[in-house]
């Protein structure tokens, strides 16, 4: 099965994305149509590989299975300011240069361990640079929706690029149908409030 078919089938099974109709279009190798972003198929693949490194396929689906990279791009396209989109693209190029310089290879050609090392190093440098992924608020417990537009302006583009991907990957993962029906079951109608619910019962709701 090629990648498209895999995604299509998984999405049919998992229903992970509302993005599918446009996914199927022949769009210069891109999976979705963007209103503002100018992303190439290679760049989409890079983002997919980063997402997959954050949330890898294990005995449960990974980021690509769940189309999280497409969710990241949709959020970036619709919800980020133009200057943040520009910073993202600058950061994307810096990311490629950085990896090339260090490994003399592209991210997609690195081993999983090397990919994790790259991202871990970025996470560490982001911690001191006001990482936007730190501003994540729990959204499932609160009426206040995630303010995806709130970004620290002084984050270096490379950190912004990775921080945005990580934030939206985690947000997309934990708010995916897969996660909310197979990992932590989301009850549309809980019907009651149990104020003393043991954590150990959480996954067997």
């Amino acid at each position: 099965m090629n990648r498209r078919t895999v995604i299509k089938n998984l999405a049919l099974v998992i229903g992970g994305a509302a993005l599918l109709p446009s996914c199927m279009k022949n769009n210069g190798g891109l999976s979705i149509h963007f209103k503002h972003l100018n992303i190439s198929a290679d760049q989409e693949n890079l983002i997919g590989d980063i997402c997959e490194t954050i949330i890898p396929k294990t005995n449960t689906p990974g980021a690509k299975d769940l189309n999280l990279h497409l969710f990241v791009l949709k959020m970036l396209d619709d919800c980020y300011k133009k200057k943040d989109q520009q910073a993202f693209m600058v950061g994307l190029n810096q990311f490629n240069d950085m990896v090339k310089k260090k490994y003399n290879n592209s991210f997609s050609d690195l081993s999983v361990k090397e990919r994790e090392d790259v991202l871990t190093a970025l996470d560490k440098s982001s911690k001191s640079a006001a990482d936007p992924s730190k501003s994540i608020k729990p959204v499932r417990d609160s009426q206040k929706s995630l303010d995806v537009a709130k970004k620290k302006p002084d984050v270096p583009p490379l950190n912004f690029f990775y921080g945005a991907i990580k934030q939206q990957t985690i947000f997309g993962y934990t708010n995916s149908k897969y996660f909310m029906t197979k990992q932590i079951v989301y009850e549309l109608v809980p019907g009651r409030y149990n104020a003393h619910f043991p954590v150990k019962n959480l996954k067997t709701v």
Binding site: I54, M75, Y80, L146, Y193, K200
Partner: protein, 559 residues
């Protein structure tokens, strides 16, 4: 009776308008309720109420397009993709900000009763007395005892869940069983009591979510989606409660898309004879006539209608003879609080999403205490566990990280203050005739801000929040204070205040416009002071009381 003639006209269909319609129709008056926006039918039109989180394209977030389209709404939490249709268009209905004022509006049947916070607290007697005692504004023409039976009446019908805490600062009501605190909140409550004894209280929120079935409404299902409209009718709204009751009488006509542009004043009888309506869809003008008119268009729009009315007699509009119409703008100032983490409950969680929190009633400037400001504040807050989308220390990517995302995060506890704003004459709204809305109508200009008293209060609000949380065992407490702009409390009050003297107030003690006795204003515009409690329950009680009086006076031939 001609086709456009009714016994009563109710302008607006939100919390107070719905109550006015219910009371007037139940007392036998043929009533038309005029709503400026579209109809939203109970359940049928709650289009997002049964969607799962992943069914929203941006998972509930906001897009740049939304931010462009809603330059005011974007300033705070209301702008989100789950209930965007419930908020008035900032572009169709602009306003002028001499000073920043965050005005979040709901222009549709039900108004903000569909999106309100539902916290429902009675005022205590001292809240009605403080203006007199402090020499601020004017004295309320009523006291707690005047409103007490109407509070009970409103609570019984609306369905307020709460605990009878026996506090003099916050009188108990006619409650349904309270919602439960979670384990961390209970722990904090116990430590709080140990530390503060009777001086301060930490109680479960009193909320207009029913906890037992009531009037064909299903009890709360703990979905915490109350701002989408409830398919179970579990929270009080016009649609779930007052509108069906009014409709059941057979006396109500509901007319959406009806912008009331002015009240028609008859200078011979010194009464209003009806209203002029601009159809928001067709732009055609109509007149409706009635013996009594209830103005419930929401605080500032009620003042707007009065300002536009009877201008041939009073250039400032109907009710302006006192010079107070449009003045004394109030809200609750907020954006100040603290939060921290709680240890020792790692094996505990909760099931269900409780659409309610805890409440700390006012304790400042009570019992003889004198701070460097007057009045006080209460806090709303709650305890909970951080969700799945959190940052995880020492783990950043990979399979183990993925697995860790299924473990609940740290317990946190936080509170945010709601401070009383004083009625300042210079805090005002005026008509700006140079700027027009989509329908060619003049818009409001806002010139209001918090002043020294509120600014000093905010220092206490911040420091006390930290002190109380720490006293209750909360760790890593951090305070926040910011965004002190009026409006974002969405508790607009004042602009047509009640009083004892027609020279200094717009309304009398029965919410009647001094200058036109058959016109009643019973929404937030009527408020003489703001207290610090969430105000809607008081509007319900004022409206039911005024409607009862209006019908009695009608029968006696006095209006």
């Amino acid at each position: 009776m001609s086709a456009n003639t009714y016994d009563a006209i109710v302008i607006g269909s939100g919390i107070s308008g719905g109550w006015a319609a219910k009371e007037l129709t139940e007392k036998g008056l043929k009533t038309i309720m005029l709503e400026r926006g579209r109809n939203i039918e109970h359940i049928k039109d709650y289009v997002n109420a049964n969607k799962a989180p992943w069914e929203f394209p941006h998972r509930g977030g906001r897009t740049q397009k939304m931010i462009e389209d809603y330059p005011v709404l974007k300033r705070d939490y209301p702008l989100n993709e789950t209930n965007l249709d419930y908020w008035a268009s900032d572009k169709d209905s602009p306003y002028v900000e001499v000073k920043r004022f965050d005005w979040f509006r709901g222009y549709h049947v039900g108004g903000r009763s569909l999106m309100w916070g539902r916290q429902s607290y009675r005022w205590a007697d001292f809240n009605f007395e403080e203006n007199l005692k402090d020499g601020i504004g004017v004295d309320w023409p009523i006291r707690y005892k005047d409103l007490e039976p109407w509070y009970a009446y409103a609570e019984k019908f609306a369905g307020i869940s709460g605990n009878k805490d026996g506090l003099s600062v916050l009188p108990d009501g006619d409650f349904m069983p309270p919602m439960e605190m979670n384990c961390v909140e209970k722990d904090v409550a116990a430590r709080f009591k140990e530390h503060y004894k009777e001086a301060r209280s930490f109680i479960i929120g009193r909320t207009a979510n029913i906890t037992v079935p009531h009037n064909n409404r299903t009890n709360c299902q703990y979905r915490n989606k109350c701002w989408l409209g409830c398919p179970f009718g579990a929270y009080f709204s016009t649609q779930s409660a007052t509108l069906p009751a009014a409709m059941a009488t057979g006396n109500l006509t509901l007319r959406p898309w009806s912008i009331v542009t002015r009240i028609l004043y008859d200078k011979d009888t010194k009464k209003a004879k009806g209203v002029e309506v601009l159809d928001a869809e067709t732009n055609k003008t109509y007149e409706y006539y009635a013996k009594v008119i209830f103005v419930n268009a929401s605080t500032f729009n009620s003042a707007w209608i009065l300002m536009n009315s009877a201008t041939d007699i009073w250039p400032g509009g109907l009710g302006s003879s006192s010079g107070e119409l449009g003045h004394n703008v109030m809200d609750h100032h907020l954006g100040v609080g603290a939060s921290g983490t709680v240890e020792g409950f790692e094996d505990k969680y909760y099931f269900g999403r409780r659409a309610n929190g805890i409440y700390i009633p006012r304790y400042r400037n009570m019992g003889g205490e004198k701070r460097d400001y007057i009045r006080g504040f209460g806090y709303q807050g709650g305890g909970g566990r951080e969700g799945w989308s959190r940052d995880i220390a020492e783990m950043n990517v990979g399979g183990a990280f993925k697995d860790a995302l299924t473990e609940p995060g740290t317990w946190t506890m936080g509170v945010g203050g709601f401070g009383e704003t004083l009625p300042y004459h210079e805090n005002k709204i005026t008509l700006d005739k140079t700027k027009k809305d989509k329908w060619g109508l003049p818009v409001l200009a806002f010139d209001a801000e918090i002043k020294d008293n509120e600014k000093k209060m905010r220092i206490d609000m911040e420091n006390d929040a930290k002190e109380m949380l720490e006293a209750a065992g909360v760790k890593n407490v951090r305070t926040h204070s910011g965004n002190p702009y009026l409006g974002r409390g969405i508790h607009e009050m004042g602009t047509a205040r009640m009083g004892r003297d027609p020279k200094t107030s717009v309304l009398n003690g029965w919410n009647q416009v001094w200058d036109a006795k058959n016109v009643f204003v019973t929404d937030g515009a009527a408020m003489t002071s703001a207290a610090c409690q969430n105000p809607s329950l008081t509007y319900m009680a004022l409206t039911a009381r005024a409607a009862n009086y209006a019908v009695e006076e009608l029968k006696k031939g006095n209006v």
